[in-house]
Symmetry: C2
Subunit: 217 residues, 2 copies
């Protein structure tokens, strides 16, 4: 059965590929699994039909006939376990790739999301400059550590894995902050991920959705 994911009908990132459906599309493209997409308006995300799929009212969700899921980490793990190519075959390598997925989602992404939220929603507050400095200091501390770990390696742990897919997707959310440019090896790591044909297809697919929404308006 072809799996179905949900995505924004009109993504707030304006097609820059930062919404969390892109990482799921990327994983599906890496393993060559076709998929269907059900688009959601913001109003639909709060409606009972969507809350039954994700009680937190977010995208992406996943339905494959056997199970319905939310959380991009859980969905990508589901894809990686059903196909080859995103998790090493040996148990230790597999466990480490999953570890990097959790590290991306629990140790790196929250700080980057915080920075985005400050830059978007606290710009008019009297504390804006002080808060931005504080949250960027926290981000840089994590980026220092990640950069030191990665060194000149292509990927986090041997071959490209679901851990890299998730970490690169998270680092992309630094967006126009300019912070990534201070870490040449991390910038090259993200570029290496973005150069993969599977990522290119995923990016184009999510961008086409945004452009269609603009045409419709």
């Amino acid at each position: 059965m072809t799996p179905t994911i949900t995505a924004f009908q009109n993504s707030p990132d304006r097609g820059r590929g930062l919404a969390r459906d892109t990482r799921v599309r990327w994983a599906l493209e890496e393993v060559g699994q076709p998929y269907d997409v059900r688009l959601r308006t913001f109003a639909e995300l709060k409606a009972p039909e969507h809350l039954a799929l994700n009680p937190f009212g977010q995208i992406p969700t996943w339905e494959d006939g056997e199970v319905a899921l939310f959380e991009s980490g859980a969905i990508i793990l589901r894809i990686a376990e059903a196909h080859g190519g995103l998790l090493p075959p040996d148990p230790a390598g597999r466990a480490r790739a999953i570890m990097w997925m959790f590290a991306a989602l629990n140790t790196v992404e929250p700080l980057i999301v915080d920075r985005t939220m400050v830059s978007l929603f606290e710009r008019d507050q009297p504390w804006f400059e002080a808060r931005l400095t504080a949250v960027e200091t926290q981000c840089r501390r994590r980026l220092d550590q990640l950069s030191a770990y990665l060194g000149q390696a292509d990927w986090l742990d041997g071959d490209f894995s679901a851990g890299d897919l998730m970490m690169i997707s998270v680092l992309q959310r630094l967006g126009s902050s300019g912070m990534l440019e201070d870490y040449p090896n991390l910038a090259a790591y993200v570029a290496r991920g973005e150069a993969r044909p599977a990522y290119q297809r995923a990016f184009a697919a999510q961008k086409a959705v945004f452009e269609a929404a603009q045409t419709a308006v």
Copy 2:
């Protein structure tokens, strides 16, 4: 081989069980797996020996002779996959339990950690009251959604799973904020987890470490 975890020699939570080794100890107690603990001072967390285990300089870590890991989510998944009792045997139920682990770590915990950070480190800032209100509003939105989903069920999805273990561990970090008391079903859910004998043993073990550190001083 008996696995070894790392934990704070002198936990900043003063033995209240909120450091992330407690959730790993809890998982180990649920499955009846004995373990060793290597205690780390704050200075040791930044030393090469520890950074080789976790480049982000955090606890807990995990070594079992086959693989070394960090990230409490990855460690608990490793434990759950090696033993019965923390993941349902059917593939769909297993995928949903893992989904709740990711939801706890990526959708719920970051907001709760933010609130803790504001209350600990921004108390003297001119923006303190406004920021606390903002972050508590975000927390309450998530708690509203989680409370509506849980309803009067004992656990998130059928029997107790690693998803509940993680979600309860995350909700405990609301600590003395008083927010949990506004959600009687979530407060009862946390209490149900804390009443489990395995949790009691894990809590006592981490508390004994803190008390020993105080005696030593």
